[in-house]
Symmetry: none
Subunit: 211 residues, 4 copies
Amino acid sequence: MDNESKIKILNAAENLFSEKGFEATRVNDISELAKVNKALIYYYFESKKEILDTLFNSLIEDVKVIFFDEETISKIMDIKNIDLYNKSVEIWINKVLDFLISKRKIIKVLLKQALNTVESKPLLFSISDILINQEIKKISEKYDVLKANSKSEFSQIMVTEFFTGFMPMINFVAFYDDWISYYNFSEVDLRNNFVQAFKDTHLAYHEKRLN
Amino acid sequence: MDNESKIKILNAAENLFSEKGFEATRVNDISELAKVNKALIYYYFESKKEILDTLFNSLIEDVKVIFFDEETISKIMDIKNIDLYNKSVEIWINKVLDFLISKRKIIKVLLKQALNTVESKPLLFSISDILINQEIKKISEKYDVLKANSKSEFSQIMVTEFFTGFMPMINFVAFYDDWISYYNFSEVDLRNNFVQAFKDTHLAYHEKRLN
Amino acid sequence: MDNESKIKILNAAENLFSEKGFEATRVNDISELAKVNKALIYYYFESKKEILDTLFNSLIEDVKVIFFDEETISKIMDIKNIDLYNKSVEIWINKVLDFLISKRKIIKVLLKQALNTVESKPLLFSISDILINQEIKKISEKYDVLKANSKSEFSQIMVTEFFTGFMPMINFVAFYDDWISYYNFSEVDLRNNFVQAFKDTHLAYHEKRLN
Amino acid sequence: MDNESKIKILNAAENLFSEKGFEATRVNDISELAKVNKALIYYYFESKKEILDTLFNSLIEDVKVIFFDEETISKIMDIKNIDLYNKSVEIWINKVLDFLISKRKIIKVLLKQALNTVESKPLLFSISDILINQEIKKISEKYDVLKANSKSEFSQIMVTEFFTGFMPMINFVAFYDDWISYYNFSEVDLRNNFVQAFKDTHLAYHEKRLN
DNA sequence: CATGAATGAGTCTTCATTCAT
DNA sequence: GATGAATGAAGACTCATTCAT
């Protein structure tokens, strides 16, 4: 079993980074919340930054497991029956939401990090790239929609997927707890409303496109 | 009339806050970028926080001017001719985008701030509230769509507007410069693609709804 | 006039570095001894290391002024009369000792630093190089002693000058205060004894060589 | 009998102390270089300081064995034939150098320690005292040179022996490896040059004095 | 003997803010 | 308005030493 203190540190850091931001989180706060000696943090991690990297790497591993399940997406695309298709999409979207909600703390950190200007492309973008490229690949395989088209069509899909597909989901989980507390939503209502909104906009566009 | 140094300070702070975040921005950095003496910053502002507040207040003023132009929205809603309606919507959306893009730096800061847990509702939410409520009001006035409905319908609209209308726009301008640099988009292409995406999803939903 | 606090910091640091060593000296100790706020040290210097570098650079400047007085050495070498020569040498050596004794604190630090293994050649060696090369040049100009000889003769001179000329002087000033306190020498006696010892050994060798 | 791990610790510590200094050496570094667990160091030694003391004590034991060989010095002094005397001195000096070179790492540490101001007289001085006093005793026994003299003559001898006899040797071994690496000397050349320099200066003075 | 984990007390450095002129 | 200097309170990180097994 991985070390208990290390896990406590990672948990505390994830909570604090997501609540206050990386910069505003004090190593002291982490040690207090985790109830471990401050120096122990430096026994397990080289720096505050390395804690964050560890959390991000862990997220990436999980993303891979969930999203590189090629079969699922392929199967959905194969479905001809419209009702079946809708049901499948719903299952898929709920699976994704379950995952994203469970990881919402670190995803919030990921989003914040993406909003800071850094030399290299932020992780959020890399994850989006992987997901969108995978989707584009599937779409083009099945429906030849990208046949004639080219870079410009590709750009349009990227933009649409990112800003009306990927980011709404990211925003949804990043603001999940805030909506519950500021607008007094129940978890169930919030989620149902979001799924409906997603269907009404992004998925409606997909459906139309595929017909 | 505002002093030249004060403006230099505000500009420098806006740039740095949006690039590195409020916490990671040093008062020193601001004074250096603004090319003013560090102590002078405290002549004009009580604290680093007050610089941020000043920037936010300024944004709010501008938001009011642009968005509380009640007429515009009302007019659009009145239009029966579908082509005219579409044209009007396009004009409206471009006006909004022009504004948001011009304010993208402070909006980025606004978004970051909203991602931190604070006692009071973040400004981003308040702005969203105003906009969405205004829209709901108009919609209900004109079309009675909210007649029978209730809290649940209201909630659904709020969620849809926020996550598929408001936030995509916010994200668009927050990541505007990053998309240009990471994905080598021209400003024009990026914008056209986004407008198209917005039409295909959020506006398509509105259109359908209003029919 | 250079800033008072900066000078106080440099003086305090020089004393502490020479007494306890660079590593064992706390920035806290420096601020307390200098009676300045600890943070002020970082207003004037980037790091503890930079204080040391400043002290070393200052020493080098002084070394240049004192030792690059080419005339003095040349003149001594020109003297044919043995008594006059001896007198001149004595004057020269006293001038050097006056300087070294006045700089004994930072020289002690210089010696300690030279005893640590670093990538680049320690400053003590560089100073020695300059001095010895200068002397060799003079000697060879005047007396052709290096005529036939070669690298091996040159090596011998370097070693002799370093270990029996340069280093005894460095050691003398590095241990100056310790001899006074451990062996209860008066400053005058200690110095006279050292000058005598230097004449009896290193200078006697020079004299013999030049005859 | 000493344990293998203990020896590994002592060796690692000696190397690190001589390279980086006692203060700059981390117990961590020692454990890593020695390839033993850090806590094990505290099984064998009470503190980092005790490792150093152990090394110093070990040096003192060896010094005693080598230098308290009273006979050797006495014998040399007895020799009337000048050639024989010279040969004996050379043998003696080489024996001493062999020893000092083999102990050069800890001697370097000893020298550094002597350069720090401490309450009690540094070990380097104590060793020098023993050696010089021993020599003075021999000299006075054999040649009555100190007959009339007094404290002042004694002081002169002490100073001469320390700064032109003892310290050049200490410096030679302390900088032995540095000269080889910075000035590209071979071990043999460096040593021959030093012996020659020592003969030309300090030993020439002795010879003259004894005539 | 040996070791992975843990810790108290620093240590250097930073930073928002203030002072004095 | 403007500025160089100054400062209290932290902040990240370190390190010798100890504990528990």
